[in-house]
């Protein structure tokens, strides 16, 4: 019964994507064309693959995760198609690839259990660090693989196969590797980390020696910030680690220390680095710096305000006025064309996915899986908060993608693998 309901809601979400494409066509004076059917087919094929893999390799997984994710991908796809139809074509390919990768992930994990990830955590860490470093490959070594600088950030690699070029943001996958490592490391060391502390009066402080991992993670984040100028990934990784550390130990001290380090790091970065400084200026006073730093945020807010309650309608607003609308500002594009109804729906869908993710963690008996599910959910939640909060001026804009929605293949692949991991854990821990 549950599986049928899941399949039906997923099909409904796929229809939503096709319907949205048709609406955008109407708005531009066209009619129902091949794009509509193609979109529906790709959605059915991609999520059908995942659905079948779940039945085969994780049959007891929760049915609540996939449908909201399909809906999020559909709404994101609507705005991508509306902003740049040629990108939407690419995104469809990426959706198929991501679904394939997710299916393969499920299949591989289906042979054993997720515990295998715990065993190989150090290898995964090395791979992740390698992936993170890839964009720093110099351009002039003549390798088919080279780094690429986009908008002043160095987080892309280009795979140049002569006949075609593929661009990839390795951090999107490295992010998952890091979370797996954190979860594995903390599952092994949680007792030591929890119990080694000193008391100064009523305050419990961790042993200085136990702060070393924290310091390492902090250093890694700062490295990313300096060498790759990726504020988003930097904050995301550090926040993910601190939250997991707290979850594993229950020691508020780590949270306090991590918070202090974040503030120190952020203040120093804002003081030292131009690109961080500009973000802060844009965050605090977007309208005063409308012509330069604040333009993107101001346009995002205009888009949200103009969209108001019900939005302009798919294809009928002007989200193309916002720089990077299909990646960083896709949430504002949704707000302009689907209005408050659309933005609240998106937030509700994310809330559902996050709640289910936490639920999987709560129900897990195995420490590693509990921490992994929690960590994956944290990372996704923090990412949603950072980018949506950035658009809404709650936090400075960090320029990361909105999971499942933004244009970008690497992000989609990364998030689909994240989804596959959560599904698999929920299967293994099903009672």
């Amino acid at each position: 019964m549950e599986r049928r309901a899941e399949a039906l809601t997923m099909a409904a979400a796929a229809l939503l994507a096709a319907f949205a494409v048709a609406l955008v066509n109407f708005a531009n004076g066209g009619s129902v064309d091949a794009q509509t059917g193609l979109t529906f087919l790709v959605f059915v094929l991609a999520f059908g693959t995942i659905f079948v893999s779940v039945r085969a390799f994780a049959p007891r997984a929760t049915p609540l995760l996939l449908p909201p994710v399909v809906a999020l991908v559909a709404i994101g796809f609507l705005e991508i198609y509306r902003l740049a139809p040629e990108r939407a074509g690419l995104q469809r390919w990426w959706l198929l690839i991501a679904a394939g990768v997710a299916a393969v992930t499920l299949m591989l994990l289906g042979r054993g259990t997720t515990s295998i990830l715990r065993r190989y955590r150090n290898l995964i860490l090395l791979l992740s660090i390698g992936l993170l470093l890839l964009p720093n490959l110099p351009n002039d070594w003549g390798l088919p693989l080279r780094g690429l600088e986009v908008n002043g950030s160095r987080l892309w690699i280009v795979l140049d196969l002569r006949f075609t070029q593929m661009q990839f943001q390795p951090a999107e996958l490295a992010k998952l590797g890091m979370v797996i490592f954190f979860a594995g490391y903390l599952a092994d060391h949680q007792r030591a980390l929890r119990e080694a502390h000193r008391r100064i009066g009523p305050i419990r402080l961790p042993e200085p020696r136990q702060l070393i991992p924290l310091l390492l993670a902090w250093g890694g984040s700062i490295f990313i910030l300096i060498w790759q100028r990726d504020l988003g990934a930097s904050v995301l990784l550090f926040a993910g680690f601190v939250l997991l550390l707290y979850a594993a130990t229950g020691t508020t001290g780590y949270l306090v220390a991590g918070g202090l380090m974040t503030i120190t790091g952020a203040a120093a970065a804002a003081y030292l680095f131009d690109h961080v400084q500009r973000r802060v200026v844009a965050w605090l006073t977007p309208f005063e710096h409308y012509q330069d730093e604040g333009f993107q945020i101001a346009q995002g807010l205009f888009a949200l305000g103009t969209g108001s309650l019900t939005g302009a309608g798919p294809g009928l607003g002007r989200p193309d006025l916002i720089p990077n609308a299909s990646t960083d500002f896709i949430f504002a594009a949704v707000g302009e064309e689907l209005g408050l109804a659309g933005t609240v729906a998106v937030l509700a869908l994310f809330a559902l996915v996050i709640a289910v993710g936490f639920g999987i963690s709560f129900r897990s008996r195995d420490t590693f899986r509990k921490l992994l599910a929690a960590g994956l959910t944290f990372v996704m939640a923090v990412q949603v908060f950072l980018i949506v909060g950035g658009v809404l001026r709650l936090v400075p804009l960090t320029g990361i993608t909105l999971p499942f929605m933004s244009y970008g293949g690497s992000a989609l692949v990364g998030n689909m693998v994240l989804l596959a991991l959560l599904l698999r854990i929920s299967h293994e821990e099903a009672t």
């Binding site: 807010l301 205009f302 949200l304 909060g389 809404l392």
Partner: protein
């Protein structure tokens, strides 16, 4: 371990609530402020980029159309191929300075229907054509252009109607402007220049300004006299050189300063053909403000007449004039507080031509869909009977005499029977406003016309309806009836 995770989860959901509060703040509380922010181009762009329907004449002359923006194939720009000659009628639709004319009046019909109303959505899903509707106007492009040329450098207006239906055949105001100036990014500056121009090129003198109608108003007084039976063309009146207004030191004299006829008596016909102020002042006082008012009201005075946009009311103040014989005498010759638009005086001529039945003027004959099918057709609206059929016939004969032997000889067209009435009212700075109203051909009128020249230094102190306005009407009658 679930304890700390739960606390983090609670933190996460507090953050999600913050996001909800954030979207509500920007999309509800501050939505209007953000939407209307000067720097937000969206509201203007939503109007600018959209396709608008055609404005065409019955013979297919395009007066306004939307073409694809060469710089942005997904949006449209408006084009006015006929420019200044049709500017006041067609108007403009500018994303910076608003709209006017038919562009403004038919804005909702011409606008693209690709909006987010439920009915449009349903229509789209049913495969209906969502391209905007178009409008067909009644004007004759040749007549319109000829009227514009005939006015030349004069300030003034020409309005021509089909007397039977009220369809506008030409509506020209001069000087005019190029409406495409108001479409660009510098529209606001261009608009300021036009607005501050002392010759007021933006003003549609034909339908948006009222002038004292002068002696053309004598057709109304004569109609009232004939209708009530107070006089007929042969009725005689005293013929002084100056008419002494009762209860006043002021007198009324004729344009040439002499008596109307022989200085003893003159008939109504003679007074009408020669446009004698003395006798019409006398007649008006004899008739009374009320009787004239009944005819004037039946011709649409003192009420809002239905047109494509709001037209200032023509004025005949019955109540006030009933108390003031001197003012009534002056008003009977279309001076003092009597006012009418050229459009309205064309209606008066049309009513005489149409057997005494007045019709509402209109300029748009139909609204049609993108496939050409009519969506809405204008029905001829009878305003009502302004005068009896006999009165109209008699008045027609009198007006024909004006053109054959009276002040309106300038309006004559060889081989065509033309009826008309001249007027020369007091305009701004005491410069005379020459007028002519009339129709042709007399047996079966197909055109009724009003010509007004707004008095200014350019038209001079000696311009009269007969010398300036009537020849313009003649040219247009000739063009219309030869075609």
């Amino acid at each position: 371990m679930n304890g700390p995770i739960r606390r983090v989860a609670i933190g996460v959901f507090i953050c999600m609530s913050l996001l909800l509060a954030g979207v509500t703040w920007y999309q509800v509380v501050r939505a209007d402020e953000l939407r209307n922010d000067q720097r937000n181009p969206r509201p203007l762009l939503s109007e600018r980029g959209k396709e608008r329907g055609l404005i065409v004449t019955a013979d297919g002359t395009v007066l306004a159309r939307s073409i694809e923006d060469p710089e942005d194939p997904r949006s449209f720009v408006r084009e006015y191929p006929e420019g200044a000659q049709f500017a006041h009628l067609v108007g403009y639709s500018s994303f910076l300075v608003g709209s006017s004319g038919l562009e403004g009046a038919y804005g909702p019909d011409l606008r693209s229907r690709r909006d987010l109303t439920i009915s449009d959505l349903v229509a789209a899903l049913l495969g209906r054509d969502l391209r905007p509707n178009s409008i067909e106007v009644t004007v004759d492009p040749d007549l319109q252009r000829a009227a514009y040329d005939a006015l030349g450098s004069n300030r003034g207006a020409v309005v021509a109607l089909d007397p039977a239906t009220g369809a506008v055949l030409a509506s020209v105001s001069s000087p005019s402007y190029d409406p495409s100036l108001l479409l660009g990014n510098d529209a606001a500056e261009q608009f300021d220049i036009l607005r501050d121009d002392p010759t007021r090129p933006l003003l549609d003198r034909g339908t948006r300004e009222i002038y004292p109608p002068g002696s053309t108003f004598k057709t109304v007084v004569a109609a009232a006299a004939l209708d009530t039976g107070a006089a007929d063309p042969g009725t005689t009146f005293d013929d002084p050189a100056e008419f002494q207004l009762p209860g006043s030191n002021a007198t009324i004299s004729n344009a040439n300063g002499r008596p109307c006829n022989d200085g003893v008596t003159a008939t109504l016909l003679e007074a009408f053909v020669r446009s004698c102020n003395t006798i019409f002042a006398d007649l008006s006082i004899q008739l009374g403000a009320v009787d004239i008012g009944i005819t004037a009201d039946a011709l649409g005075f003192n009420q809002e007449i239905a047109y494509e946009w709001e037209v200032p009311e023509a004025v005949w103040n019955t109540e006030q004039l009933a108390q003031d014989a001197a003012a009534l005498g002056q008003s009977g010759i279309g001076e003092r507080d009597v006012r009418a638009t050229p459009l309205h005086m064309a209606m008066v001529a049309a009513a005489v031509a149409n057997d005494g039945a007045a019709v509402s003027p209109y300029a748009v004959s139909r609204i049609f869909g993108p496939d050409g099918t009519t969506a809405e057709e204008t029905q001829v609206a009878e305003l009502g009977r302004a005068m009896s059929s006999e009165t109209a016939m008699t008045l027609t004969q009198m007006m024909e005499r004006v053109v054959t032997e009276g002040t309106g000889r300038g309006a004559a067209v060889p081989g065509v029977r033309v009826a008309g009435k001249t007027g020369t009212s007091t305009g701004a700075d005491d410069f005379p406003n020459p007028w002519f109203i009339g129709f042709a051909p007399v047996d079966d009128p197909t055109i009724a016309i009003a010509v007004l020249i707004e008095g200014s230094e350019a038209s001079g102190e000696s311009a009269s309806g007969g010398s300036v306005a009537a020849p313009i009407a003649s040219r247009l009658f000739e063009l219309w009836l030869s075609g």
